[in-house]
Structure formats: C-alpha cells, structure tokens
Amino acid sequence: MTNRDEAMISPKFGNVPKLSARRRQGRLAVAADGWRRWWPYYVMMAPGILFFLVFHYLPIWEARIAFEQVRIVPPNIWVGIKHFQVLFSSPVFWQVLANTLIISAMKMVFFLPVPIIVALLLNEVRGGSLRKFIQSAIYLPHFLSWVVIAGIFIAALSPTDGAVNNLLGMAGMAPRSFMTDTGAIRWVLVFTEIWRSAGWDSLLYLAAIIAIDQQLYDAAEIDGANRWQKIRHVTLPGIVPTIATLFILNAGMFLNADLNQVINLSNDVVRSKIDIVDTYVYRIGLQTGEYSLATAAGLFKAVLGTMMIVIAHFVSKRLTGKGVW
C-alpha cells in the first residue's frame, strides 16, 4: 500500500467510503470483463478443479477418523490421539517406516538421474526414425501393470532358468535367487521402477530440452564447444528449473514407495525388508478393518510428505534459486 493510499483511507478524508466503493466497482468490472473474455477457459478448468476438490481436498476433512473410533453404524467416537499412540508404540510401524524411507531414498537417488540421462541421450540421437523407435520402446513398460512386470522379473531372475542367472552363469558366476535374497530385493524394486518409468519420465526433460533457445547452441558452436561441452554448459543449465520442480514434487511423494509394486514383488522371505507404510495401511485398514489406525498411519505419512516438500523447496531455492513458489 502506498503512502497516498494510506492518506486517502485516513479518517480525516471524508470521501474514503466513496473511493472504496468506486474501487470495489472497478474490481468487479475487471472481474466481469475477465469472465466475459476468458469464460471458455474457466469452464474447461472446472472439471479439474472439481476433481481436486472431491478427490484431494474433501478427503482431508475425512482424515479426522484418525482421531475417532469408526463405527459402521454412526456416530463415531472421539478418541483423540489414541491411534497415534498405538502406532508409535508398535515396533512393526517403525520397521515399515524405516523400510519406506530406505526404499524411497534409494529410488530417489538412483532413479532421479536416469530419465535426465535418457533425455540427454535421446536428444543426441540424430536419426528421426531411430529416435522415434527408441522413444516408443522405452515408453512401453510404463503401460504395463505391476502384475505383468512382476511376472516378467520373477521369470527373468529365476535362479534355475532365468535369463539374468543364465548370463551370470556364462560369466562363471554362481546363480543367485534375487527374489528371495533380503539383500537384493530392494535393488530389484529400484531397478524395476527404473525399467518401468525412466522412459516415460524422460518425456518431461526432453520437452524442456527442446524448449531451449537454439541460438544458445549456435553461440556455443561459434565459441568452439564440442557436444559434451554443449550438454554441460547449455542443455543442463537450461533444464535446471524442470529438474528442480520435479525434484520438489517427487520429494512430496517421497514416501509413496508404490503399493502395487511391493505387493506384486513380495514373498514370505523378503516381506520384512519391503513392507512399507502403504502395504501396512492396506493390510491394517482394508484387510483387518482397523480404519482409524490405518488413517492415522496414512496421515502421519502425509504430514511427513508435506514437510519433505517444504524442505526440498528451500534446499532447491538455496542451491538453484528455483522453487515451487
């Protein structure tokens, strides 16, 4: 607010209400004008807004059952933080939380660079049809369900007749049962995630690369930069905002270690190593009917996720100058 504005709304000016009303009318006129001009866009936005309201914001209110004892026949009974106390005193919950953090961290560290590298490599492929073929081939796994992917990898990693162990055997190495090895199973999760999603995720980075001004490359070329130097000094800095944004958004989903993936790749031997918050919530909530306890676990995870977004935002702001707000 400027000094002039403050002076005008000061009590010594008798015409303040008049001016304020005029301003309000002005704003309304601007809004009406905006609506007349942009209404098709607002209409197009409406389903999206409705979707987020119904499926993302209204459920926040329903999360109150974390503080209640749910009754199938209402009313629910208010129990305060009882479910959180039960949760935090359970060694199983801390184990699944630790598993979730470890698996998510592994995925973030090892997965994040892969689509960037894939996008950079795709950008360097000169043949148009070859590039399209590679793109299609690496996007394909994204459309497979985890049931199918689990079937493929269980067969490929079989210690008796799996392709991977056959290759290891040709290299003179002993076969290894990856799917029942508690030391290997988390890596199987990371690798299958990369196999499934890296190609698809590279799309965003590829779009960001394509948007970089061609003149920057031309200038680098004139300066004598080779391909690697152009990638390092033009392409990578050009996609930093995209990397930062996706990193922050991924941080928000840091604790979503993927329920479907874990359920399909799990077995009795490795369950203790890959039992995550989502599988715990599914088991406790839907299978044993402890809805309040499961909601408490889910709410705790959501709070941690929000904290991760905020932290990631400030870290990114400090390191790259870019954030989500």
């Binding site: 009754r71 199938i72 029942t180 077995n267 009795d268 044993t288």
Partner: protein
C-alpha cells in the same frame, strides 16, 4: 336416482380396490451383495428372477436387488462400501467380517437357523462346528482342502501305483524327476510344486508326521503351537530333503497360483494340489486343452511315522460366507430366501443351472451339457441334496469323499484383536525360516534359534493365551 347411482358406483369401486389391494402390495425389497453374482451377468439376473417367482408362489413376495460389486478385489471394495454406511441385507464376506461382528453389525444366525425348514439340515459337519464358535457366517459348501493330483498317463508311465506311504511319495517324485515323462529329452521336471508356501504339502504330510492340530502338547505336557514341535521339525527336514534331491520345486515361494498351474500343464511339475473337486476339474479341463485326452488321478494322503490323513480342518469360524445385517429390516425374509435355496427346488436351480442350457431333461433322465462346466452355485451346496445327474470327474468325486472321510476338526480358535500383531509377526518368522530350511540357507540344527525367534516375535504370548483357552474348553 343420480345420487343412488353415484353411491352404488363409488361403493363398487371401493370394494374392487379393496379386493385388489392385497395383490398390489409392494414386494419386500432386500439387497444382496455377493462375489461373482452381479446384475451385469444375464444368467445371474435370470437366476434371481426364477427364485423370486418360486418364492412368490410360496407366498413370499421379494424384490431381490443385487449390488453390483466387482469380483476383482471384492473383499476390499466390500469393506469400503460397508464403511461408507451402505449395508445390504445379505452380505457375502471374504474376510473382514470380524470387525463387523465387533461393531455389532452382523446378526447371530443361530436362532433364525433353528427355525428353518431345510437350511438347518443342509449344513455340513464343519458348518455345524464353525457356527457353534462363530454364528455370524454361513458357508454351506463341502470343506475345502488341498489334495494332490497327477496325470493318469504319467502315473502309468512310472509303472508305480498310487503312493500309500511317505516313502512311496518320494519314489513317485523321483520317478517323475528322472523319467523325462514330458519327453523333452531333459530330466527337468519337479516331482511336486506348490504356490507361495508349503501349506499345500502340509495338507497331506501333517498327519503323516504326527501334526494332529494347531496346538499340541510338548514333552512337558504344555500346549504349544505345532509349528515349534519336534514333529514339525521332522516334516520341514523332509521337505528340505525333497528340495535337495531336486524333487520339490525350489522356487515355490515365488510361484503364484497361475504359474503353479502352468508348470503342471507344461510338464515342469508332476504333482500339484487342487483345493476342491471343482478346482481339480478345472485343472483337468485345462490339461486336456494342452494334452487332449489327458485325465487326472487323485493321490491319497500318505501313511507316515505319525499317522495318516488330511490336515485337521480349522473349525473356529468360516473364513468366508453369507451374513445378515443387524440393521436389516427384513431379516426373516432374508432367511426365507436362504431356506428356499437349501430346499430341493432351490438346489435344483442353484446347482444345475437352467434346463435347456446347463442340462436337459427327458422324463426322469437328466443330462448335463458342456455349459455345466461354467455354472456354479451362487448360494450353497446343501449336504443333504444329491443332484439327479453326476458330472464331476472321478478324481473330483474322490476328493470330496476323501475330505469328508478324513475330516478332523482342528483345535484352533478365534483370536482377540489384541493378538493381531503377534500373529502377523510369528507368521512372518515361520514362513521365512521354513524357506531358509528348505532352501538350505539354514541348517536344521538351527531349529532352536528359529523357535527362540518365533517366541520372541510374540509366539510366547500366543502360547500363553492358547493354554488358557484350550484348558478352559476341557
């Protein structure tokens, strides 16, 4: 005159309306939610229509509405539906019922069941036991339990007769492994495979190794979980020896049900287990698609050092079944529907399908068509009703006869919710160690280490509680 005519006409109208009023009364609407029984299946709709007609002829006018709940992930979707406050009159559960009982949402079926004309006599022995312990679920079907099958031509190729002892089974598995029965030039078939865990093997080897129930007395005379006994140790050592000799599929733990079947049909495994006569017939049908003319033979439970028979059956409660909601306003009508389904007319509908479609009738002679293979009872298979025609294979019929002959109730019970975490943790410890023993990652002399870990994971609490329950029952 006009007044008289008006009075006459209005009286006649009133009388006629009064006469038709009872026949125009709205039928009683009941809502049913069940798996593989949906309004989107025309057969289900037709089936329900003729049930309504038959009931109406008996004086019970019902309008039965089926809730359209997908079969995939049924238990989860049902749970969400009930949580949202949508509670049908008749509900089929596949787990998740205990929480509903805890909240008083499911009716005690005992008193209503006693009043029925047909249903009370249609129960199987295990139903009666389970209803005594947990009177909220009704699942009138023969008891289910895995039983082993082999291709008849394979058994003949081995030159062996059906195994009678544990040693006979080892001999058969060796003959399958070494005999190259699939003729691919490599001796690469496993004698037996199972899905996910060793439960299927347990169904025939538990009794053979002396594991008579979930709770057994240790040498000190105390009740302990059978999974920590010397008999269990001997059984697991036997499984480990099968794996070591290449007779038991080492990848059983990552083998899902579809993969298990695939291994059977493609000859990678000689013996698999079917959980009921229907399942065995499905295996037979699929096997014939791959190997025309192939037949399956049921193998009996073997005699061993500890005895013989199929594993004891859990009678603590039905693990699935139909329940009536306490908030239903038409409980008596729902029970009438169930009672009708247990009657000869209801069973004829539910078990044989439609005349001209699943079966044909010529006088008193019945013949089933190919479509009978895809028909299944939507409500129940009454113990006291025999269909006028038999269509199951010999192996399927034998499996039903064996499981009824061998029926032994287990001494397990329903656990209070407080023990859920202990049950979960001990189950994980057991499964994980069993795989380690079988795969060779752990030696059998580490058994005490396993027992200590099992007890520390909550097993001791389970043992203590079980003693109070079993001793109290005695």
């Amino acid at each position: 005159m006009l007044r008289k005519m008006v009075l006459l006409a209005s009286t006649a109208l009133a009388l006629s309306l009064g006469a038709v009023a009872p026949t125009m009364a709205e039928p009683i609407k009941i809502r049913v939610v069940s798996k593989d029984f949906t309004p989107s299946n025309p057969d289900d709709v037709k089936h329900l229509q003729r049930i309504e007609d038959a009931l109406r002829a008996q004086g019970t006018d019902l309008d039965i509405e089926l809730v359209d709940l997908p079969s995939s992930g049924y238990a989860d979707k049902l749970s969400v539906m009930l949580l949202s406050g949508d509670i049908p009159d008749l509900i089929y559960f596949q787990g998740g019922d205990a929480k509903m009982v805890e909240q008083g949402v499911l009716e005690d079926l005992g008193p209503m069941l006693a009043e029925t004309k047909y249903l009370k006599d249609a129960l199987w022995p295990h139903n009666v036991e389970r209803l005594k312990n947990y009177p909220y679920l009704l699942y009138v079907y023969p008891v289910r339990g895995p039983q082993p099958v082999i291709r008849k031509d394979w058994l003949e190729k081995t030159g062996l007769k059906a195994p009678e002892t544990v040693e006979d089974y080892v001999t058969l598995f060796k003959a399958i492994k070494d005999g190259d029965l699939d003729g691919n030039g490599v001796a690469d078939s496993y004698g037996v495979t199972t899905a996910d865990n060793t439960n299927e093997l347990d169904s025939i080897f538990n009794q053979a190794f002396g594991i008579t129930g979930t709770w057994m007395k240790n040498p000190a005379g105390e009740w302990v979980h059978s999974r920590t006994t010397a008999q269990e140790k001997d059984k697991i050592a036997f499984y480990a020896s099968l794996r070591e000799q290449g007779l038991y599929d080492p990848e059983y733990i990552t083998t899902k049900f579809d993969v298990k079947e695939d291994k059977f049909y493609t000859g990678r495994a000689g013996v698999i287990f079917g959980s009921s006569g229907e399942v065995i017939d499905i295996y037979g049908g699929k096997m014939r698609q791959v190997h025309p003319g192939a037949e399956l033979v049921l193998l009996p439970p073997p005699k061993g050092p500890g005895g013989q028979g199929l594993a004891a059956v859990d009678v603590s409660k039905e693990s699935r079944g139909l329940a009536i909601s306490t908030v239903s306003e038409h409980k008596a009508e729902v029970m009438k529907l169930l009672d009708f389904m247990a009657s000869p007319d209801g069973q004829m509908f539910d078990r044989l399908g439609f005349e001209g479609q699943e079966y044909t009738k010529d006088g008193d002679s019945y013949k089933v068509t190919d479509k009978i293979a895809t028909w299944y009872a939507r409500f129940m298979v009454a113990a006291n009703w025999t269909p006028p025609v038999v269509w199951q294979s010999e192996a399927a019929q034998q499996s039903l006869a064996t499981i009824q002959k061998d029926f032994k109730p287990d001494n397990t019970f329903v656990w209070p919710a407080d023990y859920a975490a202990d049950l979960d943790a001990t189950e994980n410890v057991y499964r994980s160690w069993v795989y380690k023993f079988i795969s060779g990652a752990a030696k059998m002399d580490q058994w005490d280490q396993y027992v200590a870990e099992w007890e520390a994971a909550g097993g001791k609490r389970l043992n203590d509680y079980a003693r109070t329950v079993i001793d109290a029952e005695k």
